[in-house]
């Protein structure tokens, strides 16, 4: 509380143009430094929030600061952040503060590497590879995340086993999606070909110049698609497969946004995206033929999302209460719909029309923590150098 209250005072004093700058002693316990002096809260208006923390004025209500990725709290379609905050606050005597820095998890890792305190209580949106990266980067030092007693999470038993990815059980799954191909059937009809059945089909002339992939260097979607090909062709075979893919006109584009934008403009009949695509298409009344879901070889790569408290949080109990809350069946169902993803528990009831639009593969593919540990950078670098030299 001290840090937060101190900043309120400092922020009010340093009003005007100097907002956002702060000077704090590093002697007082060393855990009191604020991120950027800029924390926002719902209800504060624009332009005035820097350097002040509002919503904690009562001084009684604890604040839980939750780090996450941008689209979880602010997406152009729907995002669960606002709803989740309202529900949580209505039930618990606490304030939920979202913090979505550019760069996501890397932001917190960089703070740790620079010896600056994290000042955030929990992270929502951990993937297996970001967890591996965090552990690798903090090897030999204090880990970035801590675990909670799963007995305190009343619905933990209903978490889908396939979705658990952290052997140390720090990261608790809260949602999943499947990476898949999104296919424009109309364009394929013009070519006179049916949808591709297998990975190998994608390298044939039927699908020449046919696929857009978000760059794995910048996009988790692309990165997990690359993992998928490693799972399918093996460490020794995936580079050859990619060589064929690229020779067949597959393009690896900046990020998911520009890949999907080019797909929407009809630049290619297929893009690597998610099996929830039709939910969005349905919302905007788009032609479903342009949003067909393809699972090559009947497989889909599970994009898993977990949450874990940061080690050293002084809000452990509240963090556990929050995680317990997020796992509740009815909250899971609502997060899934608002995040357009799947719940991580098997007892969440989704409306039938949502269920109908979300496709699931026959076979789930996923690299767990141990598969990824020590491998990600090497796989990605070799792959990147091959593509860039091609």
């Amino acid at each position: 509380m001290d840090r937060r209250r101190f900043l309120t005072t400092a922020g009010a004093g340093a009003a005007g143009l100097l907002t956002g700058c702060s000077v704090e002693s590093t002697d007082s316990g060393g855990t009191d430094t604020d991120a950027a002096g800029t924390t926002t809260d719902s209800g504060t208006d624009s332009g005035t929030a820097e350097g002040t923390v509002t919503g904690t004025a009562s001084g009684e209500q604890p604040t839980l600061r939750v780090g996450t990725y941008g689209s979880f709290v602010d997406a152009p379609s729907t995002s669960p952040g606002g709803w989740l905050k309202e529900q949580f606050e209505s039930e618990f005597d606490a304030t939920l503060e979202w913090f979505a820095p550019d760069g996501g998890m890397n932001y917190f890792l960089q703070r740790r590497q620079q010896g600056v305190t994290i000042d955030t209580d929990l992270y929502l949106g951990l993937t297996p590879e970001t967890l591996v990266q965090a552990d690798t980067a903090t090897e030999g030092g204090d880990p970035l995340f801590t675990s909670v007693d799963s007995g305190a999470l009343s619905n933990a038993n209903n978490i889908v086993d396939d979705y658990r990815f952290d052997p140390q059980e720090r990261a608790i799954p809260f949602g999943a999606s499947y990476i898949s191909l999104v296919i424009n059937q109309n364009t394929l009809d013009e070519r006179g070909v049916s949808q591709p059945e297998t990975f190998d089909d994608l390298t044939t002339s039927d699908y020449e110049d046919g696929l857009l992939v978000p760059n794995p260097q910048n996009s988790e979607t692309g990165l997990e698609f690359m993992f998928w090909t490693i799972d399918h062709f093996g460490e020794d075979g995936y580079l050859d497969y990619w060589s064929d893919l690229v020779a067949n006109g597959t393009e690896i584009v900046q990020d998911w946004g520009s890949a999907y934008a080019a797909y929407s403009e009809g630049e290619a009949p297929m893009v690597v995206s998610y099996s929830t695509d039709q939910v969005y298409a349905d919302q905007s009344g788009a032609d479903m033929a342009e949003h067909q879901i393809g699972f090559p070889n009947g497989e889909g790569y599970a994009y898993l999302e977990g949450m874990a408290p940061f080690a050293g949080t002084d809000r452990s109990e509240l963090a556990v209460e929050f995680m317990n809350f997020v796992l509740r069946p009815e909250i899971q169902a609502e997060i899934a719909q608002r995040n357009v993803a799947l719940p991580a528990v098997d007892n969440a009831d989704l409306p039938a029309d949502f269920d109908d639009l979300v496709y699931e593969p026959d076979e789930i593919v996923n690299f767990g923590y141990d598969d990824l540990l020590g491998n990600v950078d090497g796989w990605l670098e070799e792959w990147s150098q091959q593509i860039a030299s091609q």
């Binding site: 624009s46 941008g70 890397n106 900046q254």
Partner: protein, 580 residues
């Protein structure tokens, strides 16, 4: 007169110190703490990282191979692998050539022809600069893609279509989209400064129009064209997002790798690459500045009269019209396509994307991006950066045109904000400002408006400097001397005589400086982390989703707001009787 001397003695140096202080705090310090990792290995100074990169065939191609075994120069002749650096320089060179070819005729039209809306068109030349790469990507796909405007037109005419997307050509074209207007603007300012009597004299002495152009006009334009070319080369050399969005990873540049390695937390390789990028860009700048210093253009006392763009068909007019058609395809169609995308839904015309912006404004949570806040912030930062960047830029231009030892070095360093990787600047701001710096047991963190404005100003002032230097150098020394002998202080001469003469350059620089501030993304998003200091490009990025609509609508708002601002900036400048 006494106060004048005081200003001379104290004012200019004081101002210079303030400028250096801003540069030191907001640029050299944050960049320095990051780049030092390139030359420090295990706590010791070591060139190992840099040498490893130079010896890597992936990065340096034939150069690296030859360092290992010079024999390959013979064996593999002439099929030399370029490596990542070689390819990056190659595409930058092509982009520069394309930008000059597209920009110089534009300067000719702007400087020598009269047509309705000429001033507005000139004001809008800086517009491409504010466009985030995702917007340019969407516009270019809609224009040059398989189903784009160009290919649709070719199909309608029964001609073969062009497969442009994900090729080197489209990258070069996109860079020209950004940078040709810059060259056009800088060159037009110089062209307007060419005294009509010089050409007339040459003609009366029997020179053909072509000869007069080649021998009289070209030498006076060359410094401006080369300034534009240098900037274009450096920008294209450091290009990143647009290369990946339109070209794909097969056409990766060095900056793509800098970003990639930073994401993998491999700071050694990232900073090593960035250091090499910077050294290359600065060396190029230094070489150029040596050339520029030898040029002395004269400024116009009587510019040549403008011709009407529209009128009877002459070969010149035909050529100019043809150029205007090409320019329209490259500059106007992509922007128009974006406008069209913003009002198109799955079922045809719709205003729902703009309704989305209004709803967001009304209903967004406090932690979400609101369009109006983004607009206000962008304008405040733009004006703020202008207020710092213009005096800074002019001052450095003044310093640059005075004779003293080490001048070219100062001049080169003043260009450093263009030569340093944007990724590294962002990382430096994150570490030095957002995470804070420990001084005497206190951690100082800086973020929010002040930091953003300072960062923008630092990224923008070199435009002002480079636009002003050629004009300032061209001022007739005798005017300055006679004013001085009449008792005017040096400062007074600068403010009353020199500055009014170089206002077209200042205005051009100011427009691009403003554009840089409005379009800046990397530093802004870092310094605005968690707060409400976000700008229009940040809002665009947030609004990217399955449908292109919301982001393109915000993109059109960005274009409209900046277009109006540009016209206002130019009109204000002219309203003070200073414009050309």
């Amino acid at each position: 007169m006494r106060t004048g001397r005081l200003v001379d003695r104290v004012g200019v140096p004081l101002f210079a110190v303030a400028t250096l202080a801003i540069l030191a705090v907001t640029f050299f310090y944050p960049v320095g703490i990051v780049l030092v990792e390139a030359v420090v290995v295990d706590g010791r100074l070591s060139p190992a990282t840099i040498l490893d990169i130079v010896r890597s065939e992936f990065f340096f191609g034939i150069v690296a191979a030859a360092l290992d075994d010079p024999g390959v120069l013979v064996d593999s002749f002439p099929d030399y692998p370029l490596g990542l650096f070689g390819f990056t320089a190659y595409q930058a060179l092509l982009s520069t050539i394309a930008s000059v070819l597209l920009g110089v005729p534009g300067a000719y039209v702007l400087a020598r022809f009269e047509f309705p809306g000429r001033r507005t068109v000139r004001s809008l030349t800086a517009l491409p600069f504010v466009m985030p790469s995702i917007m340019v990507a969407i516009g270019f796909v809609a224009t040059f893609g398989d189903n784009g405007v160009l290919n649709d037109a070719l199909r309608a005419l029964g001609l073969p279509t062009l497969d442009l997307l994900y090729t080197l050509q489209i990258i070069v074209l996109a860079h020209a989209f950004y940078d040709a207007p810059l060259i056009a603007r800088i060159t037009a300012a110089a062209w307007e400064g060419v005294d009509a009597s010089v050409t007339e004299t040459a003609r009366s002495l029997g020179a053909s129009p072509l000869r007069a152009f080649r021998d009289v006009i070209v030498p006076q334009l060359l410094p401006a064209i080369l300034t534009g070319a240098l900037l274009t080369f450096i920008f294209s050399f450091m290009s990143f997002a647009i290369v990946l969005a339109l070209g794909g990873l097969e056409l990766a540049t060095v900056e793509v790798w800098v970003y990639h390695r930073v994401n993998q937390l491999d700071y050694a390789t990232a900073t090593g690459l960035a250091t090499l990028e910077m050294m290359f860009s600065l060396a190029l700048t230094y070489g150029y500045l040596r050339y520029e210093a030898r040029q002395r253009a004269s400024s116009a006392t009587r510019p040549a009269p403008r011709r009407d763009l529209f009128g009877s068909v002459t070969p010149t007019r035909l050529a100019v019209w043809a150029y205007c058609g090409i320019a329209a395809l490259i500059f106007v169609v992509p922007i128009a396509s974006m406008l069209l995308a913003s009002v198109t839904g799955p079922n045809g015309f719709t205003l729902e994307n703009y309704a989305f912006l209004v709803e967001r404004q009304a209903d967004a949570y406090g932690f979400q991006v609101k369009p109006l806040t983004a607009i206000t912030n962008s304008l405040v930062y733009g004006v703020g950066s202008l207020a710092i960047a213009v005096p800074m830029g002019v001052l450095l231009a003044v310093i640059s045109t005075r004779e003293f030892t080490g001048r070219k070095l100062v001049d080169t360093l003043a260009m450093a904000p263009f030569a340093v990787s944007g990724v590294v600047v962002g990382l430096g701001l994150l570490r030095g400002f957002v995470f804070g710096t420990e001084v005497f047991g206190y951690r100082i963190t800086i973020a929010g408006p002040i930091a953003i404005i300072a960062a923008h100003a630092v990224g923008a002032y070199p435009f002002v400097t480079r636009n002003v230097v050629p004009a300032l150098a061209g001022i007739d020394g005798t005017i300055v001397e006679s004013a001085r002998s009449l008792g005017a202080s040096r400062t007074r001469v600068l403010l009353d005589i020199e500055l009014p003469l170089v206002i077209p350059g200042v205005l051009a620089g100011a427009a691009f400086a403003f554009a840089i501030s409005i379009g800046e993304f990397d530093s802004t998003v870092i310094l605005a982390t968690g707060g409400s200091g976000y700008t229009m490009p940040v809002a665009i990025e947030r609004f990217i989703g399955r449908r292109l609509g919301p982001a393109t609508a915000m993109g059109c708002v960005l274009l409209a707001v900046t277009a109006i601002s540009f016209v206002v900036i130019d009109r204000l400048g002219e309203g003070r009787g200073l414009g050309g």
